[in-house]
Symmetry: D2
């Protein structure tokens, strides 16, 4: 049986557990004020090509999304996202819990469209009653999206331009960032993302770490007293060095990128296997998630070959997701 | 010039100002703990046909919506509303500010459809990941809607049935309730609404009062310590008797209903005038709001005859709203 | 029977009701965008001696406190107040409901002490762990205080100096401001308050209006999009001109000051009567509130002469409050 | 150099890292819906003597405190705590961020007094204006307290009795629970705590785990949909089995208790060493934290022997904390 339900079914890259074990009894300060965190941040700054980037380590994705969004919005502002954005659908209203509305745009296989964003902004400020409405104060995108799709450099630049025009931060949820950067079919680099976004995170939970997301605010862009805000959200890990150690390991010798590429290569195998076995793609993507549509008979057959995630029901047929990860070793069955 | 921009352009019914003046120097307790509030509540209970109704007076509509919704939802729940519902669009995110998401359904001239609500609920509980989503915990409708349309008794009963099936309170925003109840084209009575809803309010601001909304929780249904919740929301008026006095006046000798009917009669005159003057209806309604669509030339002509509210732009043409109210005296110009 | 329970037992100054009645059928725009509001603001700016002051009208005190505080604090900040401050004790946690802590200082008959504030700030920034604590982000005082006491110009200047040193706004709750300004025993003028505070309000509810508080942000100091914030808090009155009309009346021919002085003169009569009748002062103040302490027998006697408010119990004895207001006509009984 | 700054300076008990490494590549479901979590919960239920206890695993202490408190309070309620309680002082206002006030009682070396709690409750309900105040809705205590002190069974029973009388849940913060249970000077067992409290947690972060707190709701007492609430607070770990695995290890063969006892034994050595070296106790406790007071010369000397945490300044002298933990190996220097 191949486990393709999601990309966080195993623990961490063995190198991480090895170092955790080796450095277990080294006395360290709490809350990320330690040498290993400093070193990890330095390596990430280098990978991003921005020596002035502010970096913070948080534990998980929903936590990171709601903490960053609440920290960067004014009270009268909401965050613009695709209607299928993770914050709009699958985070139990964590953003609203902080007092902010998620303002939704149509999604195109998980992506928003710069033209539609521009139209939204024009309509908003063109509405005579907009002072009675929620101000769009930030744009949230995910890359790869929840559908495994990717923005091109042209698309991301167009979105960033609109954000700058309206003085709105652009926030990129990179829970699966490695799988986007190492896709065979992308022209967006980590340096591009650093240049175009006002804040983004490099996902660890789904890419080799036990847990952890590295939040990057390029160009000294962190909100004032962000550490206190993180604490207030219950998101400050006591043994912060556990996060630093993981990212230090992942950003040594390109480990993060190498294991991400592995997952992409495994995804290619999965795609070939899907075709060979006569399954139909609902959405074939350039990253680690593939979506196929199965009728009841196919679904039963598939269930004996791999584990998968239910995506949505279309009448009699079901869309399911097959995800590879850094740990996947797919073999034709 | 006829003033038809909205239904809150004048002060209060003269009888209210007369009584305010007469009783101005009567010493009264604060916060609604007074004789005139008690009397007003008694009269409203009688009009609703529910001697066990809990009644509270608040100052305005947005305030009432966010206070009632926050009081009745669990922290993990959101409120279901039409995408055009006032709480979804024009209250500056007041509901989200209390930590709750507004979950939107398609709108049909401002109304939600019982079938679509049922499907929404089935999909939600059918989704294997629904514990990672916002639970629908309450249904919000407005009657008349923001488009001046009305639910029929059959429609409201169908919605109420689904609410009961899922144990969700049904909340009816009655900011313009009088204009709905006194429409020539409705089969819904105040008693029906009392029987079918778990909470609703009888709007005063737009129907004869200086300000004030009477919130009715039928069948002793008020949330525990609702007065403290009202205070916490900054919604407790020090001189609460001002609210009691206004509703006592409005519910004496059917004043509320008589002046509502007057606005409906004036709306009929407006509709006749619209036709006679060759304007085109975008939406003709059975209540006090009418929507017409005008090209630039028509718009210029209309501007010299009446004041109106901008509704939306459709290419070159504009949808505008003409609203009558208890104080309107429309005369053919 | 003399009614001395509180200072909001009657309606409004008759001149206000007269104008409301006269102007009842004048068509006006909603939400404070009208001529009478503009005029009222101009008059208040003149009284404050600050032509650049931003002014907003809200309905009540708790609402104003929580809206202003939430608008001016960063998310990681709290508001410093006397432990007896209204926001700390009697507003049902309205400030906390917006997500902010009330940080308390000792009270001295309702006042905070500049030296203790300075020590608090030094301790906070001297604490190595202060990033795990709530940052003091604003200072709240009331003037007159909840105990009827007044800050001197020297005291207020000392507090303002510390606020400026730490770049914290100073907020003065003036729910009873008129009674402070017109005390026989004060050296603080409205212009001083405008010069020393970053935001304050001129109370209408307790000083001649039916309801309403005029919030003044000197020197163009209003938070960005404050009107939207007010709306979000459910604090934006649809018929905003009702607030403008009341303040326009109160700030015409010094009415606000004249009726405030009247309450002070009545308080002097009450104080004389207290002495003459052999009651003991618990706290004699220069404003409209007096506190006396009575044993059970005295309490019974007092109850037949005046109405009063329970303040606190001291063993067998009770502290009660006697409040005059703009409408009080105290006669020796 | 001995590291005594705090009790979370090292990683985890080696047995935990060993199992993490061994089970790293076992495919598991997310969010705590896995076999190892189920097993860990079973073992904790057994240790607590309550087969009906609901158990959830969260990541850290502040997160657990604010999530549990927000989940169990009504919107109009606050949580009662000692003025030195962690939630009152050192969590950056995380509780207030959820909209609730922390109501403080005097502290007695970190503990609250049942008599003072009873008096607080009586005063609250005896106050005629209590509906304008924050209702006390829950009691928070820490055991051991922030001062390393312990409640006796009699004291905890007295507090629990008052909580039951007023129908308020009693919440015990057990971030250091092991060090309390294994003190040589306590009569409170885990079963007592389970019987007396409505919710408590068994701290892992400070007692042998990399991170993690096991929240126990005795007698099926978990709030409805608590998992969704945890998600909404950003506190749901994707790889929940990491928490289960740690607690499964700690609750196998009494590991949690054995390593806690070790820290207590080390604390005895520290206490002896303090005495032998002529330092003065500011507070000697029966758990893993000791407080000594040093003058500048002593402080300099101490700094060369051990690391410690600054506690508070007393004029020229400084109170510092020396903490042992499960990993401490103190040797007389």
């Amino acid at each position: 049986m191949q486990y393709l339900t999601c990309d966080y079914m195993n623990g961490a890259h063995p190198e991480i557990l090895k170092r955790m074990t080796e450095e277990n009894f080294q006395a360290r300060s709490g809350y990320g004020e330690d040498e290993v965190c400093r070193r990890a941040k330095e390596k990430i700054r280098e990978a991003c090509g921005d020596p002035s980037a502010d970096i913070y380590f948080l534990v998980g994705g929903t936590q990171t999304n709601s903490t960053v969004i609440a920290a960067m919005l004014e009270s009268y502002e909401g965050v613009v996202a695709a209607e299928t954005g993770h914050i709009a659908q699958h985070e139990s209203g964590a953003v609203e819990y902080t007092g902010h509305k998620v303002l939704t745009l149509p999604q195109h296989y998980g992506k928003i469209d710069a033209g539609e964003l521009a139209a939204y902004m024009e309509n908003f400020y063109g509405d005579a009653n907009h002072e009675h409405m929620v101000f769009p104060g930030m744009v949230y995108i995910s890359h790869p999206t929840e559908y495994g799709t990717l923005y091109t450099k042209t698309e991301l630049t167009a979105i960033a331009d609109i954000c700058r025009q309206y003085d709105m931060p652009l926030f990129l949820d990179g829970a699966r960032l490695g799988y986007g950067l190492m896709s065979f079919d992308t022209d967006l680099t980590l340096r591009d993302i650093t240049a175009l976004c006002d804040v983004f995170y490099i996902g660890g939970t789904k890419v080799g770490a036990l847990f952890g997301e590295a939040v990057v605010f390029p160009r000294h862009g962190a909100p004032k007293h962000f550490m206190t805000i993180v604490k207030q959200h219950g998101a400050l890990l006591a043994k912060g060095w556990l996060l630093g150690l993981q990212f230090d390991t992942l950003f040594t010798d390109d480990l993060y990128f190498r294991i991400s590429r592995h997952a992409i290569e495994e995804a290619e195998k999965v795609k070939a296997w899907v075709r060979k076995n006569g399954y139909r793609f609902w959405l074939e993507t350039p990253t680690n998630q593939q979506f196929i549509i199965v009728d009841p008979e196919e679904k039963a057959r598939l269930s004996e070959q791999v584990t998968f995630d239910f995506w949505e029901q279309c009448g009699e047929e079901t869309v399911v997701r097959l995800a590879t990860a850094w740990y996947t070793e797919f073999s034709d069955m």
